[in-house]
Structures are given as structure tokens and as C-alpha cells.
């Protein structure tokens, strides 16, 4: 396995508060890596840097050899980094199908003129994109909700809709921010199966932030633990669950 994503010396401050300090992280191609830690540890901040929403004060991020920090968010998405959001960021007043179709934006041709004239080429691309989008809705189990307004879907379905939208961009690296948030144990098990299939069948590399330890320990190849913006441990799931520093971060120091 070769390194797909490489983060080194990453630091970012928000008004004097060090949200991340000197973070190093390697994600190998084809791996499932989990980023865990207590609330406020900086996990989502890492995602926001990787997807170009935050600009770090120091550090480097390279993805397949490209400097991600030099790219605008949409360009990062086009290089093959897609993400979901912790508090879901679906296009609320659009249908589930349209949500996924927007994920395919960069892969469909058809600008203003071609669209206005409804050229045959543009129409056939559109039809193909709709078929692809429906297939993705089926994959995440939302095949019956294609025409439902995204806002009226239950939270768990919105999370899956975001996954379908992210997959529509045909990413190499998928960033999942608390994919199991708000799911019941059965749904979480289904989600674990889905994430494994994405890696095995679609050859995706997956970096996820998650609090659900069943999911983290069940599917991750590696786990990195953040606390107060620092990485305090990294290793295989079994090693992490026995690491004294991790136990202390989660449970507090023994009296």
C-alpha cells in the first residue's frame, strides 16, 4: 500500500485557541482509517482543512502528490476528495435525486448554451447521469425516496443521502463525518457493511470521524486518536483500546 493522503505538521488556531497542533497523519490507499477523540478534539477541523474550508497556520497536506492546501474546495472535490458533514448539509429543498445529481456536477458536461438548446449530447448525458444517480440511491438504500424533498427525510436517511452525493463525485478518498450519528444498532451494522463494500468493491480509501466504538473497532484498519488538537495515539484498533493515554483522554485521569 502506498500513501494516498499525507498530513504533516498541521496546526490551526482560532483566536488563540489551538484547534490542531502539529498533527501528522498518513492514510494508505485502500485503507479505512478512523479519527476518534472526545468532543472538541479537532476531528471535524481536520476534515474542514482537507476539504479546503479552513486554511491552517502551518503544515502540509498532500493527496496523490498534489498540495491540497493550494486548491479551492471545489477543486479538491474534483481531485477526488469527497465528504459528508457532521450535522448534514443536504440541499434541503431539492429532491433526493437532485441532491445526488449535484454530486455528479463535475462529471456531466452541458453549460448554459448547450443546456438552453437541449442539444442531443447534453440530453443523453443528463439521462445517463440520472441512471447513475438512481443506482447510487439504491446502493445506500434510498431507492424509494428519489423524489422526496431532502429536508423531509429522517436524519439517518439524510446521512445516507450525503454518502450517495459524495459517491456521485467518484472520489478516491471519502471523508465521512460521524456517519453513524443518530443510527440505531441495526442501522449501524448495515452502515458498516456498506463502508466495507465501498472499500472492497469500489476501491475507495475511507477516513472517518466517529464516536460509535462498535463501528470504529469493527471496520477500521487504523485508528488515530485526537485530544485537544494533538494526536495522542495511533495504531490498530486492538492496540488503541488498550492504550493508557487514550483511556485517560476518554475517562479522565485516575484520582
Amino acid at each position: 500500500m502506498t500513501g494516498l493522503l499525507s498530513v504533516s505538521g498541521l496546526s490551526i488556531n482560532f483566536g488563540g485557541l489551538a484547534a490542531l497542533s502539529d498533527l501528522d497523519l498518513e492514510v494508505a490507499e485502500g485503507a479505512i482509517v478512523a479519527l476518534i477523540g472526545p468532543n472538541g478534539a479537532g476531528k471535524t477541523t481536520v476534515f474542514n482543512v482537507l476539504s479546503g474550508l479552513y486554511h491552517p497556520s502551518r503544515g502540509r497536506v498532500t493527496f496523490r502528490g498534489d498540495d491540497l492546501l493550494a486548491l479551492a474546495p471545489y477543486a479538491i472535490a474534483r481531485r477526488g476528495v469527497a465528504r459528508t458533514f457532521q450535522n448534514t448539509e443536504v440541499f434541503r429543498r431539492l429532491s433526493a435525486l437532485d441532491n445526488v445529481l449535484i454530486g455528479r456536477h463535475a462529471h456531466i458536461k452541458g453549460g448554459v448554451l448547450g443546456g438552453a438548446l437541449a442539444l442531443p449530447r447534453v440530453r443523453s448525458e443528463e439521462a445517463r447521469a440520472r441512471r447513475d444517480a438512481r443506482a447510487l440511491l439504491d446502493l445506500v438504500g434510498l431507492g424509494d425516496s428519489a423524489n422526496v424533498e431532502a429536508a423531509s427525510l429522517p436524519l439517518g436517511h439524510q446521512k445516507r443521502l450525503e454518502m450517495a452525493r459524495a459517491l456521485a463525485a467518484e472520489p478516491t478518498l471519502l471523508l465521512l463525518d460521524e456517519p453513524a450519528g443518530g443510527l440505531n444498532p441495526t442501522e449501524t451494522r448495515e452502515l458498516m457493511g456498506l463502508i466495507r463494500r465501498l472499500r472492497d468493491e469500489r476501491k475507495l480509501t475511507i477516513l472517518l470521524v466517529e464516536h460509535d466504538m462498535q463501528l470504529v473497532m469493527g471496520i477500521s484498519d487504523r485508528v488515530a486518536v485526537l485530544d485537544h488538537g494533538r494526536k495522542i495515539a495511533e495504531g490498530k484498533p486492538g492496540e488503541i483500546s488498550r492504550d493508557p493515554a487514550v483511556i485517560e483522554a476518554y475517562l479522565g485521569a485516575p484520582e
Partner: protein
């Protein structure tokens, strides 16, 4: 049923100049011109959520461009003159849209409001070109050897142009471009994360919106025959906003219906000028409280299964 209704509309629309008195032929033309502006404004405000109170300015640029092309363009055929008006106005739209990328919400709206005033001042001050407050006579639209000098002829020109622009708007909004614009309205962050270059599409929305309004300006110039800056004041911009809010933000058919209602109402209220702001203000507040999706939204809810 829907086809039958549409067919009746098309037949009545085509036979209108034969059926109606001259003034109503003019009024119907004005409805279509305003429908074009409303579609253009909706592409910007309804689709990408950049509310503009400056579209009378774009309309003025299109109108004056057409008049000047008629005066100095050596008998340019009407379609080319309209295209010219659209392109010039779109260029101004880009010039306004680029700095507006840094603005949001109320501040963006203020900038467009100011733009409307700047255009009027520019027309007044460029009086060598525009004849300032004295008004500029617009030469009749030409199609080869013919000059379109009757209300009927102008009506048919307006109908054809409107039909083309309605089809184009429906096509554009149904596919990739429309979705990208709606994505920006719903969540800029998620749009970017989905690979949509938000700044580019916001600027394109300005250009497209200005293009539509510029073409409408050209038709408007031929309809009214003489241009003066006070025809493009801020109240006209407000009328356009009322049209899309009443008709439905983000809806092409809604834009047309909104334009029809406001234009006819405006005409009917011509004798009660002082009460117009009161009436339109009431309509706006009523829409926001009871019909947030405008007429188009209410229609969708009525017909939804």
C-alpha cells in the same frame, strides 16, 4: 387537461392582435417583456439567492443599447439588435457580479440598488449619447426591408422572443446548470464540496440574468418608442422583485404568471398612483406570510398527489 389549457393559451395568444383593441395588444406585449425580466431576475434571485433591486438598470442598458444600435447601426435586423443588447447587458452583469461575490444578503441587495441609481445617473450624464433627460427616440425594429411599426407586428416579435427565452430557461433550469444554481442557494459549502465552483456559477447567474433583462430592454425600447431615464427608476426594480416573489422564487412558469399579474394590476391602478406602494407592499407581506412559494408553490401543493 394541461395540454388543452396550454393550447387555448397559444391560440388566444396568437390571435390576440386580431381580437383585442390596440391598447390591450400593447399591454400584452408589456406582460411578455416583463415576463422575460422576471425569468432573468429569478435565475439570479430565486435560483442563487442573490436578491437584486437593480434590474431596472439592466433593462435601461438593454433599451439604450438597442436604441443606439438602431440610430447608428445601419438598419441592423431586430434579432441581431436584441442579441447585441443582451450581450452588452450581460457584460455589465459580469462587471457587477464579480465585486458582488464578496457580498451577501442585505449588502448584496444594497449594491444592486446602488447600481440602479448609477445607471440612471450615467444616462443623465452621457447626454451626448443618450440625450439625457430630454429622451431618446427609438427607431422602429427592422426585419430586413420591413420596419415593425404597428402594435401587432411588435407584439408578434415579442411573442416569438419570449417563447424562445421561456424554452431556453426551462431547459437550462431542468438540467445541470439549474441544479448548480439551486445547490448554491441551498448550501454553498455543500455545493463546493460537490465540485461546483460557486464563484463561477454566481457570476454566470449574473450574466444570464442580465442577458435576459437586456433582451427585454430592447423589446421594451421598441414598445414605448421614446426612452428617458425616469422610466427605469427604482420602483420598476421593486415591481420586478414583486413579480418573482408573487409568482414563485425558483420557478420559470411562476415568473411569467407573476409578471402578468403585476403588469395588469399596475395598469389597472394607473389612476391610483399614490396607493401603488401600499398595494404592492401588502401583496409582498401577504406572500411571505401565507404563500412563501408564491403562486407556483401554491399550485404545486394543490396538484401534488
Amino acid at each position: 387537461m394541461r395540454r388543452a389549457v396550454l393550447l387555448v393559451f397559444v391560440i388566444v395568444g396568437l390571435a390576440w392582435p386580431l381580437l383585442a383593441p390596440r391598447y390591450f395588444v400593447f399591454l400584452a406585449s408589456l406582460v411578455f417583456v416583463n415576463a422575460i425580466v422576471a425569468m432573468g431576475l429569478n435565475l439570479l434571485s430565486g435560483y442563487t439567492h442573490q436578491l437584486s433591486f437593480g434590474h431596472a438598470g439592466f433593462l435601461a442598458i438593454g433599451a439604450y443599447t438597442t436604441a443606439l444600435l438602431g440610430l447608428h447601426g445601419g438598419g441592423l435586423p431586430a434579432p441581431l439588435a436584441l442579441l447585441g443588447a443582451g450581450v452588452v447587458t450581460a457584460a455589465v452583469g459580469v462587471a457587477l457580479g464579480l465585486p458582488c461575490l464578496r457580498l451577501e444578503g442585505l449588502y448584496l441587495t444594497m449594491a444592486t440598488l446602488a447600481f440602479g441609481f448609477v445607471v440612471i445617473e450615467a444616462i443623465l450624464n452621457l447626454d451626448r449619447l443618450t440625450n439625457g433627460a430630454d429622451g431618446l427616440r427609438v427607431p422602429a425594429a427592422r426585419m430586413g426591408p420591413w420596419a415593425l411599426t404597428t402594435d401587432g407586428a411588435r407584439y408578434y416579435l415579442v411573442v416569438v422572443v419570449t417563447a424562445l427565452l421561456v424554452i431556453a430557461a426551462l431547459n437550462v433550469t431542468r438540467m445541470r446548470v439549474g441544479r448548480a444554481l439551486l445547490a448554491i442557494r441551498e448550501s454553498e459549502i455543500a455545493a463546493q464540496a460537490s465540485g461546483v465552483p460557486v464563484a463561477t456559477w454566481k457570476t454566470i447567474a449574473f450574466a444570464l440574468s442580465a442577458f435576459y433583462t437586456g433582451v427585454a430592454g430592447g423589446l421594451f425600447a421598441w414598445l414605448i418608442g421614446t426612452l428617458s431615464p425616469d422610466a427605469f427608476d427604482v420602483f420598476l426594480s421593486v415591481d420586478f422583485v414583486v413579480m418573482i416573489i408573487l409568482g414563485g422564487l425558483g420557478s420559470v412558469p411562476g415568473s411569467i404568471v407573476g409578471a402578468a399579474v403585476v403588469t395588469v394590476l399596475n395598469d389597472a391602478l394607473a389612476g391610483f398612483q399614490n396607493y401603488r406602494p401600499l398595494i404592492f407592499g401588502t401583496i409582498l407581506i401577504g406572500c411571505m406570510l401565507f404563500m412563501p412559494g408564491g403562486i407556483a408553490g401554491a399550485w404545486r401543493r394543490q396538484t401534488a398527489p
